[in-house]
Amino acid sequence: MPEPAAQATLRVRNLRKAYRDVVAVDGLDLDVRRGECFGLLGPNGAGKTTTIEICEGLTEADSGEVELLGMRWDTHAHELRERLGIQLQETQLSEKLTVMETVRLFRSFFRCGPGAAEVIALVQLEEKQRSRVGGLSGGQKQRLAIACALVGDPEFLFLDEPTTGLDPQARRQLWELIERFKLAGRTILLTTHYMDEAERLCDRVAIMDHGKVIALGTPRELIASLGAEHLVEFSAGGAGRALDVSALDGVDGVRDVRAANGSVSMQVTELHRAVPALLAELARQQVPLTELRTHSATLEDVFVTLTGRHLRDE
């Protein structure tokens, strides 16, 4: 009976938002299904935060529609606030309060939800509940921010770059936390510019660039859309002996060849055939190999293929 779009618990149509001199969001459509973890992936300045803040009812769009849990911001703002959990990118919680005081404050704003101690246990900050926020590590502060998003037992959780600036261990801890919410059946919309984060956490990913969605699908689908499972990067040659790159197009199992800054990047379907063939070609041209790397294709490669730029370049 319901068409796929009607199942969406967040439905965004033709969203536009321009600031004085830049178009931040340029005709964006999104459908987030109930119970899924949806990722907005893109470089800084792609419009991720503007998009998520419009969905959170914090920023007004110039035009377009947002429908969330079957409601709209202009008619059901208060009801929506009761049912959303929000973590903002740059919030600094008051440093002079303790963890417990902070969570109790946020808990007091919501009609229903778990107790403060319960939420603190959920984000594993029990030992720190009497410590001042100012004394917490970056990862602990971020877990506290997520605790503050959970006090209303939200149906929909917005996480804006939850792990930016954290060390690898703190990131992994936070990922485990987010995975537990997924298991609890909450819908999550998260933004990130880490491809590994999106690959690990998200059921579906929209890759954004310049305020638009340029690719949409599960991480596996997006990677498969490259038509190549591996990437081979190498540098070859040296003084006086230049490599004839065009000859590489004919090499067995190679789909696409790009040369930039003296190194060559090839998309490859079958590694076990392409690498020997590459070595044979180099030997034929008598060009020495100086560097050779291979890796499985990632969302980063999808982004590079679509835009010619790296996610973290800018």
Binding site: T9, R34, E56, G57, L58, E65, E67, L69, G70, M71, R72, T75, H76, H78, E79, R81, E82, L84, I86, L88, E90, T91, Q92, L93, S94, K96, L97, E101, R104, L105, F106, R107, S108, F109, F110, R111, C112, G113, P114, G115, C148, G152, D153, E155, G185
Partner: protein, 365 residues
């Protein structure tokens, strides 16, 4: 889209985990917000110093510097023993006998105010500087003593009754002034810095993303201010009354009401100052621009009457002038609240205008 699509979805987890907050009043958002304000203030030692200790130190320092001294005893020089003896009858003169040259030297260097020397035929010659008030006073006292010692009796009997009442001293003038200044400073600084800091840290934006009613956020600032006011006013007034004997002629209830009204007006002004600023620098510039003129013209340390008549209407319309005038009239003259209606009206007008403007302008992100 028809209206029916706006009906909220059925809750996913109706039973599990969702329950109303227990804890009663303590978990009311307004109580929690006010507690947070209070905790943030108390955990900032510098703020405690400036709000509670500094005004007391200032009152103590100025009170000691401008305290009323007992009437001064004037030093004079007499050249002969007879003169020294007849002058010694006057309590307000400290008479020393010097040689002629030494007396001249003492007069020239200001160590004595007057020098008495015998003239021809039992006469007395007073040498002093008639442009110096001390010299003139010494001349009168010395002459009276000499004449009385020689047997003069005054035809009209006269006696003195001394007025040294509390309430007319500088410290009495100063304490209500400092109280008004403190009400203004703590309200404007307290509101201004806390709000702008929360805005800078995106904390206001984060609060607005919850179902918290926005007016609770602003109300919590007023409530915590009123709580602190009790302590703040108590400390300064207690110090003034106990240490310097500053009088409280008016009703204490009226005084408290004036303090509350004044503080609320300054809070509204502080809210207005903090309504747009995004950085601490911008906010402190604005706060200084608002407060500095009032510190000078509103009669904290000296009477506002000293400024020209032309600007008096402007000075009178300032909230700090109104607050200090009302506090002084209550404490020193015992004026009732009804007599202070003009000042109260000025404070009320500032409260309403600033609060309304601030609500319109407030930047919630």
């Amino acid at each position: 889209m028809s209206d029916t699509t706006a009906v909220p979805e059925v809750r996913v987890r109706e039973a599990a985990g969702r329950r109303p907050a227990g804890g009663g009043m303590a978990d009311h958002p307004l109580v929690q917000l006010t507690l947070v304000r209070f905790r943030e203030f108390v955990r900032e030692p510098e703020a405690l110093f400036w709000v509670f200790i500094f005004p007391v130190l200032l009152a103590a320092g100025l009170g000691v510097a401008f305290r009323n001294r007992p009437p001064e005893v004037l030093k004079i020089a007499a050249v002969t023993a007879e003169l020294a003896q007849s002058l010694g009858g006057e309590k307000l003169l400290d008479v020393r006998q010097f040689s002629y040259a030494a007396a001249e030297e003492a007069l020239r260097t200001g160590k004595v105010a007057l020098m008495a020397e015998p003239g021809p035929g039992g006469a007395v010659v007073y040498r002093y500087d008639d442009t110096n008030p001390e010299g003139r006073t010494a001349r009168m006292l010395a002459d009276r003593a000499v004449e009385r010692a020689a047997g003069r009796s005054d035809p009209v009997p006269a006696s003195d009754r001394l007025m040294r009442e509390a309430g007319s001293r500088y410290i009495d003038f100063l304490v209500p002034g400092l109280l008004g200044m403190n009400l203004m400073g703590s309200a404007i600084w307290g509101m201004g810095f806390a709000i702008v800091d929360a805005r800078r840290k995106k904390l206001i934006k984060r609060m607005v993303a919850t179902p918290m009613p926005r007016h609770y956020y602003l109300l919590s600032f007023l409530l915590s201010r009123l709580l602190l006011l009790v302590v703040e006013v108590g400390v300064l007034l207690g110090f003034g009354v106990l240490v310097f004997g500053v009088p409280l002629h008016g009703s204490l209830v009226d005084l408290m009401a004036l303090c509350v009204l004044g503080s609320l007006s300054f809070c509204a002004l502080g809210l207005l100052v903090a309504s747009r600023a995004r950085t601490i620098e911008a906010a402190s510039g604005l706060m200084n621009a608002v407060m500095l003129p009032m510190w000078i013209v509103s009669g904290v340390f000296f009477s506002a009457q000293r400024f020209p008549d032309l600007v008096q209407p402007v000075i009178k319309a300032l909230p700090l002038t109104a607050a200090i005038d009302a506090l002084r009239a209550n404490m020193l003259q015992g004026s009732s609240l009804a007599q202070l209606a003009p000042q109260a009206a000025i404070l009320g007008a500032w409260l309403v205008v600033c609060f309304t403007l601030a609500l319109k302008l407030f930047r919630w992100r």
